[in-house]
């Protein structure tokens, strides 16, 4: 994978400066993503290590981190115009808040769920 970087860059040089070669970054991000996925999977083996009450928060943090990394790097939001980020974020924010409220109305959070 890493060889990609040099060859392509050498071939085409400065003519395409608007497309900086980020392949190394992508690979690094992918390694981090893989590592987080490993951690996530690890939580499943409770007999090896029990996260206890921290399980859900840990998983949610892992999930958010992966989400962020993919959206920011692979989807270029980091480098693209803010309008695009806002369009996507609007969707996420509306979805999160609206559905959280819905679930709350069903008494989803907390113990038990009276009918």
């Amino acid at each position: 994978m890493s060889t990609t970087t040099e060859t392509t860059h050498g071939d085409h040089g400065a003519a395409h400066e608007e497309h900086p070669n980020r392949d190394m970054t992508y690979v690094k991000v992918a390694i981090i993503l893989a590592a987080i996925t490993g951690l996530e999977t690890f939580t499943y083996f409770e007999s090896v290590f029990d996260f206890g009450a921290a399980l859900v928060p840990v998983l949610l943090v892992c999930m958010t981190a992966k989400f962020y990394l993919i959206a920011a790097y692979f989807m270029h939001l980091r480098w693209d115009k803010p309008v695009l980020r806002r369009a996507f974020l609007t969707g996420i924010v509306i979805a999160l808040s609206v559905y959280a409220v819905t679930l709350a109305a069903f008494k989803f959070f907390g113990e038990g769920m009276p009918r």
Partner: protein, 215 residues
């Protein structure tokens, strides 16, 4: 005529550099894709919430606390297996972004390889999902078995359908590339297809944690 009216428009900026030939500098297609992805958040959000609600409901439903039924719920999950397919899908995002990157640097040959790799990884994810589904059905957890199963198959099925559509798009682009219709000048088209692909991956990131790992 008033002076101001004759004066040249100072704010008529023509920032025609980069991709943008529009007033925002973003191409129509890319903006459209992001808007679409924004709206997809609400779609998957709805499916995920339905699933969460019904998983919890089933557990508290009278007569359903017993072992036999809960066997027909989350206990069936084969986490190591799903972890592998999650990993496969994750890596397909890497190959996708490398394909885009290759095309941007005019390396069409390499782009085609990455593209094919992405499609293959996507296909193996789908194969894994088909295997998982058939295993569940064999265990007695069909689409119509209970509220949990309906919600589970619908959510993962919608995601699977998105992946399949993504594979079709990727293969179409692969074919176009072979025909010479996907040159570096159309790198953005590939990038946009990639956005869709990454989004489908991101949805799985959420599904994997929320559906499979959190009990």
């Amino acid at each position: 005529m008033a002076e101001t009216l004759a004066a040249p428009a100072t704010d008529a900026h023509h920032d025609d550099h980069g991709h943008g030939h529009t007033i925002t500098g973003i191409s129509n297609e890319k903006l459209a894709m992001w808007l679409f992805l924004g709206s997809e958040c609400l779609l998957f959000g709805g499916l995920i919430s339905t699933f969460l609600l019904y998983r919890k409901k089933l557990n508290s439903f009278p007569g359903f606390e017993n072992a036999e039924i809960s066997k027909l719920g989350a206990q069936l999950f084969d986490i190591p297996f799903t972890s592998v397919s999650s990993f496969v899908l994750l890596m397909s995002s890497l190959t996708m972004v490398l394909a885009v990157s290759s095309l941007q640097r005019r390396d069409e040959q390499r782009m085609r390889i990455w593209l094919l790799a992405t499609a293959l990884l996507g296909a193996s994810f789908i194969a894994g999902q088909i295997y998982e589904f058939t295993a569940f059905v064999k265990e007695g957890l069909g689409f119509t078995t209970n509220i949990f199963s309906s919600a589970f198959f619908t959510l993962t099925g919608f995601h699977g359908a998105h992946v399949v559509i993504g594979i079709i798009i990727l293969m179409t682009m692969f074919a176009m590339s072979l025909q010479g219709r996907l040159g570096p000048e159309r790198a953005e088209a590939l990038e946009i297809a990639g956005l869709y692909w990454h989004f489908v991956d991101v949805v799985w990131v959420v599904v994997f944690v929320v559906v499979y790992l959190i009990k």
